[in-house]
Amino acid sequence: MYGIRRACIHLGKQIMTITLFIPCFVDLMYPEVGISIVRIFEKLGHQVVVPPAPACCGQPAFNSGYWDEARSTAVKVLEQLQFAETVVVPSGSCGAMLKVFYRELFAGTPHAGTAQKLAAKTHEFSSFLVNQLGVTDLGANFPHKVTFHDGCHGLRELNNKLPPRQLLAKVRGLELVEMSPPETCCGFGGTFSAKFPAIATAMGEGKCASILDTQADYVVSCDSSCLMQIQGLASRRQMPVKTIHLAQVLAAS
């Protein structure tokens, strides 16, 4: 199978086998993000595969300092993805883990080379569409005023400021209003939000205030984890903030 597909690519048919790495919380709590992405890639004519496990990239353990435990998940990720043609992650944060932090995690280990190769072929969803597939217009229709929240890892580790905006610009009926200040952290930060809930909540309050100032109907992001923090706080305080992942906007018709 693999050989045939490769041959097709060489013959000029741009069919790709895209391996989707679905993060744990997207799997459990935001399945519609993954489903939207499958639909988008299939509509573009590509084939999608999803490895059955592992369900996590190991970032919680890595960020907490438990690198041995992080490696026991990350090694499994390397094994599962090493033969993939290309890997797409619907999260800037987990994407940065695979693309940037695995190299630190595996530096000086026998897996360093594999991690390097995985980093090269792994892409965050929006940057994959724009920079790898060269697609910005997916024919989506989302007649709402939205604002965009940059997840910090996508923004600063992956330098991913433009692709989501290029994609949103082509959505019918959509009006993008930027926040002020535009690039402030929402306060999620993985285990940080559980270890220092008071600080994380205060940061979330600042973020929600910026969102409300835009008077947008929705806040869009490439990171469901940030949206979980923003929505969690907004719902509790009964603020009129609605969150949605970029993939769902792009799949809307």
């Binding site: 744990c24 399945p31 999803v50 992080a70 923004l155 993985g190 205060a202």
Partner: protein, 464 residues
């Protein structure tokens, strides 16, 4: 939990709910960002400037021994007395010995975070000397009996009304809350002290190896008076303040001014090369330079984090940090606050006691992005976390991550956990947000989304 960690958590919890305090800091920082960006635009190639600054500082740090020798011999050649202090205690003793020898009574100081680091004021006052801070912000904080709130803006958290009340109480002179009036009050007090002082103590922003000079940057002219009026000048310098060449100041002075305070250049930039030379009309009769290690060489030995010694103490990382405005400057409990403080304090004062500061970050990376000398601050926070977990692992966390890894690595177990999570959240509902809720750290202030009726993997399996 160590005492500093408990203190941090308690103070952070209290202050992050203090909307007034948050408002003051956010307003101040908002203005800073606007002027900083205007000044940054004055650089032809800001990223190129950062690259050059990082390389220059890294070169200085990598050849620290040689540069320090050059600097010391050049200073000595013009009659400066050079002292070497391995620890804060040694530095305090060296300075006290000079004060005793000079039979000093009054010491006037200009702003120096390094002197804060070694708790110099307390030591001098304890030995019976009168110590006066001459930087306006530091003067205010000294009247309050508190350490500086911020590396560059020591009293930024105070309103002018609070400063008027402070002056009224301590100086019995506070005509209004007009900043100019208040500055004039401080000026009247300080002018007397400059004239009375036997000793002037300063810090240093840069130390130039090539020419043997100390570079001091300030906005009020107080450091010049501190250096010029008393007969003896003492400068306390962290050994990492080295710059190889005089020409490097052409980059570093504007960079420090832009990132520190959003200025094109700081008001006064002065180079001190020694005591008064024969034929010169003014300047101190004696000039002492005290070089301080205080664990900087321990950081130098850490190949991963050595670049943190390149820090020019501009405070830019603190200014962009989303944690800082929510917890305030005193909550850190350290001399150096914000991201750079969280990175270096474990090296300077012990990992076990200060690693919690590295945990208290969302790792957003705004600090590394802004740092003019390109210190990988948030990556160093991760390394501190790793070093802390290796030195003293929490068995609860270690076990939890082990179990999580085993579950996440196995498709069948993951599927089972998905089903269990759905059942679990039914029981969680009635206790949501209370102490009985296992997810209370989250649910106390935020809602948690439900586990989907059909997870992505379940959907994917059903589809095939």
């Amino acid at each position: 939990m160590t005492a500093p960690a408990a203190q941090f958590k308690a103070d952070a919890g209290r202050l992050s709910a203090d909307l007034r305090q948050r408002g003051i800091i956010q307003t101040a920082m908002g203005k800073y960002e606007v002027v900083r960006d205007q000044r940054k635009a004055g650089f032809q190639d800001w990223q190129g400037a950062r690259e050059l600054a990082a390389r220059t500082k890294f070169q200085a740090v990598n050849h620290l021994g040689q540069y320090l020798e050059d600097l010391a011999s050049k200073l000595e050649a013009r009659g400066t007395k050079v002292h070497w202090a391995g620890t804060g205690a040694q530095a305090r003793e060296i300075i006290l010995a000079i004060l005793r020898e000079k039979q000093a009574r009054v010491v006037v100081k200009s702003k120096s975070m390094t002197s804060e680091e070694i708790h110099l004021n307390g030591a001098l006052e304890g030995a019976g000397y009168e110590v006066v801070e001459s930087d306006l912000g530091e003067f205010i904080m000294q009247l309050r009996g508190e350490p500086p709130y911020h590396l560059v803006f020591p009293s930024m958290h105070l309103t002018r009304g609070e400063i008027r009340d402070l002056f009224a109480e301590k100086l019995h002179d506070a005509p209004s809350d007009n900043p100019e009036d208040l500055t004039m009050v401080a000026r009247r007090v300080l002018r007397q002290k400059y004239l009375q002082a036997d000793i002037g103590i300063t810090g240093a922003n840069f130390a130039i190896a090539e020419t043997g000079m100390i570079s001091i940057t300030e906005n009020e002219g107080n450091a010049r008076l501190t250096a010029a009026l008393p007969k003896t000048m003492i400068t306390l310098v962290g050994i990492e303040k080295i710059l190889p060449r005089l020409a490097d100041l052409g980059l570093f002075l504007p960079m420090l001014a832009v990132m520190g305070a959003g200025q094109l250049l700081t008001g006064y930039n002065t180079l001190y090369g020694g005591p008064r030379q024969p034929g010169e009309p003014d300047g101190p009769e004696e000039f002492h330079v005290v070089f301080l290690d205080n664990q900087r060489t321990a950081l130098l030995a850490d190949a991963e984090q050595r670049d943190a010694l390149g820090c020019i103490r501009c405070g830019a990382c603190l200014n962009v940090c989303p944690i800082f405005p929510n917890v305030g400057g005193h909550t850190y409990g350290t001399t150096y606050g914000g991201p750079i403080g969280s990175v270096i304090t474990p090296h300077l004062r012990g990992l076990a006691e200060w690693k919690h500061l590295s945990d208290a970050s969302s790792l957003c990376g705004a600090c590394s992005e802004t740092c003019p000398v390109k210190i990988e601050l948030h990556h160093h926070l991760l390394q501190n976390r790793r070093n802390g977990a290796q030195a003293k692992p929490s068995w609860f966390q270690k076990t939890a991550f082990k179990i999580f890894a085993a579950v996440a690595n196995n498709a069948r177990w993951w599927s089972l956990v998905t089903k269990l999570a759905r059942v679990g959240q039914v029981f969680q509902k009635p206790v949501k947000g209370t102490a009985l809720d296992p997810a209370s750290v989250w649910t106390k202030t935020r809602d948690l989304p439900p586990v989907a009726k059909e997870s992505f993997r379940e959907w994917w399996k059903g589809r095939k």
